[in-house]
Symmetry: C2
Subunit: 247 residues, 2 copies
């Protein structure tokens, strides 16, 4: 197990063959897609998704002592957003300070023992930086999950319960085909293939030019849809055909 600081670096190191599998966050139920991961995979990687793991996210308030009344609370903007109501209600006097990551927030609290400060983050961050948990599970919305994709050559043995099978594709549409997206979606719809998600991401060439990430429920008819898409001049990249596991 090797932790790496940023998501693009995880993918870069995996592409260089530094390890057999890479685990990257792809989507959170509250914040939405992790764009930096999706873009890196599409633009600068040929990696294949071999499994999806859905993990519940739990936020905690942590400090050097359990009895601290924090004047300032540090965390990543998303973690602060996810615990905003709780912090407003229980710590109305505390100033919320956004920093670049929850780990950096915990590290900052550890390094400033004489200040009345706290951080919001997961239990591993508290353990790693020797902080005490002041309050557990403080996220405002109970249902908070993150989807992770496991990149690899083949699926390893995963000791979690399997829920269903999925196929993820990236589509690039021809420039001058009116209604191209409608045609692409139709190839799945008329075959009764269930599309669970569509997401547009900028091609980074010009504002208004996109590629599309599409998730489909696993289905034998997908291969015929892919043939039809190709004949329409739509470029399809198979990101992976994989099982979903609940963490």
């Amino acid at each position: 197990m090797l932790p790496i600081e940023t998501i693009p670096e995880i993918i870069e190191q995996y592409e260089l063959g530094r390890f057999d599998y890479a685990l990257i966050p792809i989507e959170n139920s509250i914040e939405g897609p992790v764009s930096i991961a999706i873009d890196k995979l599409y633009h600068q990687s040929t990696a294949t998704v071999v499994a999806e793991i859905v993990m519940p996210i739990v936020q905690n308030l942590m400090a050097l002592s359990e009895n601290i009344k924090p004047l300032k609370i540090y965390s990543h903007p998303q973690a602060l957003a996810q615990t905003r109501e709780y912090l407003r209600k229980n710590y109305p006097e505390s100033k919320l300070i956004p920093v670049a990551s929850t780990a950096m927030a915990a590290e900052f609290v550890q390094e400033h023992p004489n200040e009345a400060i706290a951080a919001v983050g997961n239990e591993r961050a508290a353990d790693f930086y020797s902080l005490k948990l002041i309050a557990k599970g403080i996220q405002d919305i109970e249902e908070n999950n993150t989807r992770f994709w496991l990149l690899g050559k083949n699926e390893p043995k995963i000791n979690l319960s399997k829920s269903s099978d999925k196929v993820s594709l990236a589509l690039t549409l021809p420039e001058n085909m009116p209604g191209a997206l409608h045609k692409a979606i139709s190839t799945f719809a008329w075959r009764g293939i269930d599309m669970t998600k569509i997401e547009s991401r900028p091609l980074k060439t010009k504002l208004g030019k996109y590629f599309f990430i599409i998730d489909l429920v696993s289905d034998d008819k997908i291969s015929f849809a892919l043939e039809e898409l190709e004949s329409l001049g739509i470029v399809v990249r198979m990101l992976g055909a994989y099982s979903i596991y609940e963490g």
Copy 2:
């Protein structure tokens, strides 16, 4: 003109009637949608979009002195990502440090005059924090634009060149309608209404539940499509029918 620290607060203050217009970033050509703005508009606002303004984004390197050799360079993760190649090539020794905003980076540089540090941000940040520009226009990709939405009761006079007219909608699909998204898109496609963008955003209730933001080229037939959508049980919210201006 009143600057406000975060995008959700801009929308909240606008909803409270604190000012007549609010300008919020919606999408960047490289980074993609500004999810926090779109979600706030959808979930906690009834504001109407009265204009779209597309502005070029220029990143600069700034410090207290022009002759500084920065050991550390601070900025928002997106600004660092947008200037990564330039900084790697010209400042291979500098450590890149992500902070919560480009303004915070510039402020930090101003407040630490004895350190060899710099920030990446726009010219206004340099002016405001009395920093000198070491290098101008250092973004790696030339074409870098951000779309802003102007919220208001009606369109003000805008001294910029108008390019085209658009309609933006938010759709929520019925739970148990197979192929609902395909049906929704078909109501536009078969009428020849040009859809320029579709984006899925989490409903924040459960992983895998989305609402959709759809951009259409202005067209008289849109009202008929909206009637058809309603009859299908698809909930449509009109975000705005507006003109696009190039900044």
